[in-house]
Subunit: 362 residues, 2 copies
DNA sequence: TTGAAAGCGCTAACAA
DNA sequence: TTGTTAGCGCTTTCAA
């Protein structure tokens, strides 16, 4: 009777249906679909047979009620038009997929009003939360964590917060870029920052400036690109129309560097690598396209993802070390958008040309 | 007692906890959190007060058990490096977000072996499934639908299947491109296709070829780019190193057109729009970047998304018309990568230069 | 190894 | 409008 109405209503089969058809108990069904539970081969076969006939698949949401594991992670990202993020989303999805997790997507557009997002997030009993959005407050992260949800701040950290985070060795990276530009005999520097509030951008900026100052060079002229393409276009124009425009511009991400590069070329008749040098940060997939040839500091995205997985797993086992802020190094990948120093360029293992710091000021 | 252990274990509060604190029944709690249920103002206030104190949020997975609505949609996409898809993902996420749905991400890399994906998908009780991946079989789509899950094939249809779909008016689009190129006095045509199996690509190719033939022009030389950047690079090289290379190349998507454009420029010294014409399909966000200026047929992505939402909703209400294959028109957006016809270019409402068919062959 | 029974957190039909 | 009650589909003790 119940079975019949199920069929009519096209309801998927449940463990009861399977149990009945197989002539066993629901527990037996549950066990055959549970890793490492003890079932006799005979029962297992009966169950699997019945399951196949009924096209039974365990309902993961129902399971999660009991097990308190949903195998779903939240992923909050802001703008997917920044080429860095689709790549990240893809990698996260693939790597987490391998260990049985799926990503529930939260796209956070710019303005975080007073966090309707927080409520949203916590309604799903997520096994973890990855915050890869520059527009997310660490307050939100803290709250989620307090609510018992493992959180990782991805490429966007709040140093004051104790939420675990994964990011690049920003200071080292920025010094490497500065070192490279100095070796290339640049004299006037521009810096296109992201947002005031963003610590990542700020760290890079400070390290970049400090390095130059330590070398007796002038501080870079600063513009804010707001992490957007349009913002970077404006910022670049502002820099290049100065009476004494910079001969090198370091952008705090590739998304903005690609804008800068094109503005320089299309609006100012400059050729990156010849009469203007532009360096980005991220090494987005399209940075090596022929028309860009962007020299940029690469983020070790594969490592980021691996560490993120580890953090989530440790959190779930309540074994996360306190205050875990992972900082992973990348490489300055040399292409054509910045003038080359006479020497010092080396070949990396994977055939890329990279830069190693030549000096260590102070 | 129970409350205490909850707190210690950092378990989120449940409706029972709230009910107890508010001095009402669980139903009252449920009702205050259910749109349009009848609760007195007084009870509601008590409940909301208690809920706030306990930081209570309804568990959506538990709710879905009873309501049979998860408010989660599956989204299967293949390669996010194709610039078309991040944009789609973002739009889908935002629009579905407005009506309370979230997207669970399934990234399907290339080879669909015998569908472990299918099992995966059906374990979650998704309210719907959007298949925006060229590597997904319509068999899978059919099976999901048979299992009672509303499905939409997004920009990737199987005409033989009855799974509802949303796509561009591919034939019209390809004829429009052909018409434009003929008006531009091109004589030798290349076509870079996606995959053999892909109907979208095939439809465009056939309409393109048929139009040219009907005009008494030679059929285009065909190359396969496999929808990948690398594939398109190869395809372009093959076309351009012919003794009689084409003077116009139509690529079945922008992802490949951007590859073609750069190969032409960097490897063959050709300047798109001057001595070679390249036209794409999709109008991806970066198509209008200065260094590309890609002339391309735009997909009406906002319409796509709107229709997708409608299809899912109708399916959920079991009111979906049979065999609903939506075909929506775009525009041929004229930029600089293809030589311009002397006349016939018009201005669209949003200030873009577009092409309207001048002839209707046959 | 197996089945009975209780319960995960929630909703909804029913009766009050 | 409210509370009682019976599930939604699953897992997991506990006894057998």
């Amino acid at each position: 009777m119940r079975n019949v109405s199920r069929r009519l209503g096209r309801q998927p089969a449940t463990s009861v249906d399977v149990a009945r058809l197989a002539g066993v108990s629901r527990s037996a069904v549950s066990r055959t679909f549970t890793e490492g539970a003890s079932v006799s081969d005979q029962t297992r076969r009966k169950v699997l047979g019945a399951a196949r006939k009924l096209k039974y698949r365990p309902n993961l949401f129902a399971r999660s009620l009991k097990t308190r594991r949903s195998f779903i992670l939240g992923l909050a990202v802001s703008a997917l038009d920044n080429q860095f993020y689709p790549d990240i989303v893809q990698r996260l999805s693939e790597e987490f997929g391998k260990i049985g997790y799926r990503l529930l997507l939260f796209i956070t557009h710019g303005g975080t009003g007073h966090d309707p997002l927080l409520d949203e997030l916590l309604k799903y009993r997520l096994d973890g939360l990855i915050l890869a959005s520059s527009s997310i407050s660490s307050r939100l992260a803290e709250e989620c964590r307090r609510a018992g949800v493992p959180v990782v701040m991805f490429n966007n950290i709040d140093p004051a917060s104790s939420v675990p985070s994964v990011e690049c060795t920003n200071e080292l990276a920025a010094r490497t870029v500065a070192d490279f530009l100095v070796a290339g005999e640049h004299r006037r520097f521009g810096f296109i920052a992201g947002l005031q509030t963003d610590s990542t951008s700020y760290q890079r900026e400070r390290a970049f400036r400090d390095f130059l100052l330590a070398k007796g060079l002038p501080a870079p002229t600063r513009e804010e690109g707001e992490f957007t393409f349009a913002g970077a276009v404006r910022a670049t124009r502002n820099l290049l129309k100065l009476k004494q425009p910079p001969d090198a511009i370091f952008c705090t991400n590739d998304h903005m560097a690609l804008a800068a590069l094109q503005v320089a070329r299309a609006e100012f008749g400059l050729e990156p690598g010849e009469n203007i040098s532009i360096v980005g940060f991220d090494n987005v997939p399209i940075a090596d396209w022929p028309c860009f040839g962007l020299t940029t500091y690469s983020q070790p995205t594969a490592d980021f993802v691996a560490r993120t997985i580890r953090i989530i797993q440790l959190s779930l086992e309540h074994e996360l070390p306190h205050d875990l802020h992972e900082q992973l190094p990348g490489e300055l990948i040399i292409r054509t958008s910045a003038r080359l120093p006479r020497r010092g360029i080396i070949q990396s293992a994977d055939g890329l040309r990279i830069w190693r710091m030549t000096t260590t000021p102070k």
